[in-house]
């Protein structure tokens, strides 16, 4: 393991300054992903700026009825927070569906957003990967890709974003706050993750050196009836092969508002706008749920080894929406 410099930041401007001072530095949150990547040589930072003790560990209501979640709030604390559980239950479910209890106790909200793909080619420095080594190629297209992207991918990269939490945040229109040496900034979740294009190594819209300081959830009344459902190859401690975060507001059998986001299908948590357009104003019935799923998946471009994901995501969207509609009808 290469030697590196470790600094603990006391305040947000100090953290940003410590990072700015070394172009080869990384922020360290819970370390549940970065430290693994350092062990395997994928990341070789010269300096770690530990931000875990910054005063960003609060979850507070906003004036308009939303929630502001600090970047160093742990996954465990986020999932357990009474207001999150009451107002955004899919977010709690998503967080609890990820990792293990020990990891959730360490992992932070900011780090969760910035975690890297678990693509086996990305993680193995002896193999090519455009995300890790731009221009080296993407072996997954011809090789192992049964858990790779079916939406929004290009021939340059078919990796998926591994976050569960992010899928719920996408459904609820979260806004990411950050800080640079120039001051604070914001990015809507829809703009936070960049399209893959031919630059899969550029993953987010964060400016160079920016420190994620928190996430703001707007008030989303429909989120009170929301669900996160994750499909994986074992019952625990595995990344999703497909997941859905959904909220459904139904009145008199008609969908007033649907929110739908998909996980493990794209390089980012995937907001299912096409499906939502079909659902909003439509009868809350299985036929329309299936039509909505089909509308979203019309853009799917599966590879030979992951075509099942189209079936899986269709089934999953219908199942979760049906479940929410049944609850609404009770």
């Amino acid at each position: 393991m290469r030697e590196f410099d470790y600094r603990r930041a006391d305040d947000v401007p100090g953290a940003v300054a410590l990072l700015d001072a070394d172009p080869d530095a990384r922020y360290l949150g819970g370390g549940t992903n970065l430290v693994d990547l350092m062990r395997t040589g994928v990341e070789r930072p010269a300096r770690l700026v530990d931000v875990r003790r910054l005063p960003l560990d609060r979850i507070e209501p906003t004036d308009d009825g939303g929630l502001r979640i600090g970047a160093t709030v742990t996954n465990s604390d986020l999932a357990a927070h009474p207001e999150v559980r009451r107002r955004y239950p899919a977010l709690t479910e998503a967080v609890l569906a990820g990792a293990s209890g020990q990891l959730r106790n360490m992992a932070t909200v900011g780090g969760n957003l910035l975690q890297r793909t678990r693509c086996g080619y990305f993680a193995d420095v002896t193999k090519p990967c455009n995300k890790r080594l731009p221009g080296s190629g993407c072996p997954a297209v011809e090789g192992e890709h049964h858990n790779h992207a079916v939406l929004g991918a290009t021939e340059h990269c078919v990796a998926v974003h591994p976050s569960d939490m992010g899928v719920a945040l996408a459904a609820f229109d979260a806004v990411v706050s950050y800080r640079t040496a120039d001051g604070p900034g914001e990015s809507a979740f829809a703009d936070f993750y960049l399209p893959v294009g031919d630059t899969p190594h550029r993953e987010t819209a964060l400016p160079q050196g920016a420190l994620v300081t928190g996430i703001t959830l707007p008030p989303v009344p429909s989120a009170a009836r929301s669900r996160y459902r994750k499909v994986r190859e074992r019952a625990s401690y595995a990344f999703a092969i497909g997941s859905v975060a959904a909220a459904l507001d139904v009145s008199n059998g008609v969908v007033r508002e649907a929110r739908l986001a998909l996980g493990a299908v794209a390089s980012r948590p995937w907001r299912a706008h096409a499906a939502e357009r079909v659902l909003n104003g439509a009868p809350a019935s299985a036929d329309y749920f299936a039509a909505a799923a089909d509308a979203e998946l019309a853009a799917a471009r599966p590879l030979p080894g992951n075509a099942y994901k189209v079936t899986l995501m269709r089934n999953l969207m219908v199942a979760v929406l049906s479940e929410l509609a049944e609850e609404a009808a009770r």
Partner: protein, 722 residues
């Protein structure tokens, strides 16, 4: 039986009050592990954490190509790095003596006999060892070491129809055949002709391989984590052309082995480095390195043809199994062997075949042969039961052989029917509707399945020494290995009964090659072999003590060697048997399969310690869940190496995947057998995957013949309900 548990929690080292009453009957009574307290408090030290003065650390460098020749090893820059002491590679490593057949009947695996030439036969082949003052320095330098290769095209494509497949003997004849297969199949009312596949599987034991080698007063001393200290010592002495007495290997605690902890690159490279540097050198493997350096279970492609009369009685049975091996070492996964024990037919043919690919050498893993073989054979039996309209248990009972189907020898005991009867009663099999796809709970389809299990009850020659100490305690010395099985505790109970004293008076010392030759912890033979040797020595000691007035200060020691006794054992078919039952729920929307409950009932001879025996059997069944639903080593076609070669990428069952799993046993006496103990380490996995696959069929109506039964396979298999 008299019951005693006095002192077993703390072990003899902590026992302050001697048990004076004569106590027998420790065997058959539940005892916690004698070393359990040490393990849960961290007092038990494992090979990678035992301190040594002046210790240097070695880090292996593995090839990044799957086939070719090493060009250059650019040691110069690395030797200049902080703390680096040496770099060993094929250009400077000592030449090993490799022309021998080891204790288990195989020549050395060249993957373990490191740095002997410039050929690279597979990805992840050891090409160098960097030794430094600290583990971190060694790792950093190893990662910086530039090795160039003359790369050649590789072939890693395993498939059932390889034209270059050949029959390979391994530990049993490759082919057995009798009768006219084509004629019997033609005359059969029902024929099943199917192919099953199982993927590459890895041992994935908790503790990685680790060894420290040092020279101590002219002797080579290796502290290791292995399944047999005399086995490893014997091979190291041959490789390094040392007198057998000049090598000592110790392995006190072992965090799992499952077949992979024999002679590996870590010990051999550590000995080379300790010899070159004249100081202790430790080599610990990483999880990723283990995927190519420590063996694995080959993928299999198995073709099964069954022909039966209308009532399900077999007329023809053919079981062919293809597995892969490396280009440098022949190993065959003998999956067809299980049919030689389980079912007879007038026409009966079994064949184990292999194909040599540019892949690492496979090895023994968790019921080698039986585990994948019983998956295919017992799933095929289920398909035949469906065709015949006969209950799957009844079909198996109708086809119980009276003698070994191939050997013609009598069975020492054959209690399979008793296992099925007891299992069916407890599982609630009676009244089961055999039709598939009928039981639905929302999106879930529910099904049940069963399968038979068997595993050979073998033994290997072993020696033991039992000493009556002057203080009234007894010391047993045997080069046994407790790889997490509870062997140390089981042997304590065996010794206590043989000496007719309480277990608290036994000091059980194992895991040291200086104790003399002994069987390894493998092939489910360990406890049977070691208990045999201990019993012989203890019996003689007890007789000798009967005439003595007192015990001298140096104690009284009796040694035993079971070689002759083993040879005198009557030739019979000796096996454990079992009946596996599983209930599964299959989510038709997502393809997820979850096991809801499992029951295994086994006939496995005399059960020494019910507590740890249950753990062994349940553990085997959990392997079976893992094999059926999760485990799959994925090889990248382009690089020839592993994809996701770590415990995040290689899925083994988690606690959440393991529901209520019950294991129990029926009496399985064998009056002719001098020990009566059979192995229980592996029979638990045999048939477990088949029971689950059969339950998935019962749930969905779809036969899944390729493991693991992943969600994508369930979704794309279609079927009436998906």
């Amino acid at each position: 039986m008299t019951v005693t548990t006095t002192g077993t929690e703390t072990g003899p080292a902590h026992a302050t009050t001697a048990v004076t009453t004569t106590v027998t009957g420790a065997v058959g009574t539940a005892h916690t592990r004698v070393e359990g307290r040490d393990k849960v408090t961290g007092a038990a030290r494992y090979a990678g954490e035992i301190p040594f003065a002046d210790l240097a650390h070695g880090w292996l460098v593995l090839s990044t190509v799957a086939r070719g020749r090493i060009g250059t090893v650019e040691t110069g820059p690395v030797l200049a790095m902080p703390g680096v002491l040496t770099v060993l590679h094929h250009g400077n490593a000592p030449r090993l003596h490799l022309d021998y057949i080891g204790m288990l009947g195989t020549p050395p695996d060249p993957t373990a006999a490191v740095f002997q030439n410039d050929r690279v036969p597979h990805a992840g082949w050891p090409v160098a060892l960097v030794v430094a003052e600290t583990s971190e320095q060694a790792r950093e330098a190893a990662e910086a070491l530039v090795v160039t290769y003359e790369q050649e095209p590789h072939d890693i494509e395993f498939r059932g129809d390889r034209p270059d497949a050949f029959t390979l003997d391994g530990h049993m004849p490759a082919v057995t055949e009798k009768g006219d297969l084509d004629a019997e199949l033609a005359a059969s009312a029902h024929v099943v002709d199917v192919e099953y596949t199982t993927p590459e599987e890895h041992h994935a034991m908790m503790e990685p391989h680790a060894a420290t080698a040092r020279w101590d007063d002219g002797r080579l001393d290796v502290v290791d984590s292995n399944q047999g200290t005399t086995w490893v010592a014997d091979e190291l002495s041959r490789m390094f052309s040392l007198d057998a007495s000049a090598v000592r290997v110790r392995s006190e605690h072992v965090g799992g082995g499952f077949g992979s902890k024999g002679v590996r690159a870590h010990q051999v490279s550590a000995v080379m480095a300790a010899t070159a540097l004249r100081r202790p050198v430790r080599v610990v493997l990483t999880r990723r390195q283990m995927f190519s350096l420590t063996g694995y279970r080959s993928p299999t492609a198995q073709r099964i043809r069954l022909g039966a009369d209308a009532d399900g009685r077999l007329r023809a049975l053919e079981h062919r199994s293809l597995s892969q091996t490396s280009t440098v070492w022949d190993f065959v996964e003998p999956s067809a062997g299980v049919a030689r024990v389980m079912y007879d037919a007038p026409a009966h043919r079994t064949a184990n075949e292999a194909v040599r690919l540019d892949v690492p050498s496979p090895t023994w893993m968790r019921a080698p042969g039986e585990a994948p073989g019983a998956f295919a054979l017992e799933a095929a039996l289920d398909e035949l039961a469906e065709r015949c309209g006969v209950d799957p248990i009844e079909l198996r009972l109708r086809n119980e052989p009276e003698r070994g189907p191939v050997s013609g020898m009598p069975f020492s005991g054959h209690r399979l029917a008793a296992c099925f009867r007891e299992g069916a009663r407890r599982f609630g099999w009676a009244g089961r509707d055999p039709r598939p796809g009928l039981r639905r709970e929302g999106d879930l389809l529910i099904g049940t399945g069963t399968a038979a299990a068997s595993f050979p009850a073998g033994a290997g020659p072993s020696t033991a020494a039992v000493t009556a100490e002057a203080d009234g305690t007894f010391t047993v010395r045997i080069a046994a290995a407790d790889i997490g099985t509870g062997a140390r505790t089981a042997l304590t109970l065996v010794a206590a009964d043989a000496l007719r004293v309480a277990p608290a008076r036994i000091r059980m010392r194992i895991g040291d090659s200086d104790f003399g030759p002994a069987m390894i912890a493998g092939g489910s033979t360990g406890t049977r072999s070691w208990a045999w040797a201990i019993t012989v020595a203890a019996d003689e000691l007890r007789e000798r003590l009967a005439g003595e007035a007192g015990i001298p200060a140096e104690g009284v020691t009796v040694r035993s060697d079971t070689t002759a006794a083993l040879g005198a054992l009557a030739q019979k078919e000796r096996h454990s048997f079992g009946a596996q039952f599983a209930e599964v729920a299959v989510d038709v929307a997502t393809g997820e399969v979850r096991v809801r409950r499992m029951l295994g009932v086994f006939a496995a001879g005399r059960i020494v310690n019910p507590l740890t025996a249950r753990g062994q059997l349940v553990g085997g069944m959990v392997w079976g869940i893992s094999m059926a639903l999760h485990e799959e080593g994925i090889r990248d076609r382009v690089s020839g190496g592993h994809y996701g070669g770590d415990l995040a990428g290689y899925h083994i069952a988690t606690n959440a995947d393991v529901p209520v799993v019950e294991a129990d046993w029926v009496d399985d006496p064998d009056p002719d057998d001098p020990v009566g103990i059979k192995g229980i380490g592996e029979v638990g996995i045999v048939g477990a995957a088949a029971a689950i696959a059969n339950a998935v069929w019962h749930a969905t109506g779809v036969r899944h013949r390729n493991l693991p039964i992943r969600p994508d396979r369930v979704l794309t298999a279609g079927g009436p309900h998906v």
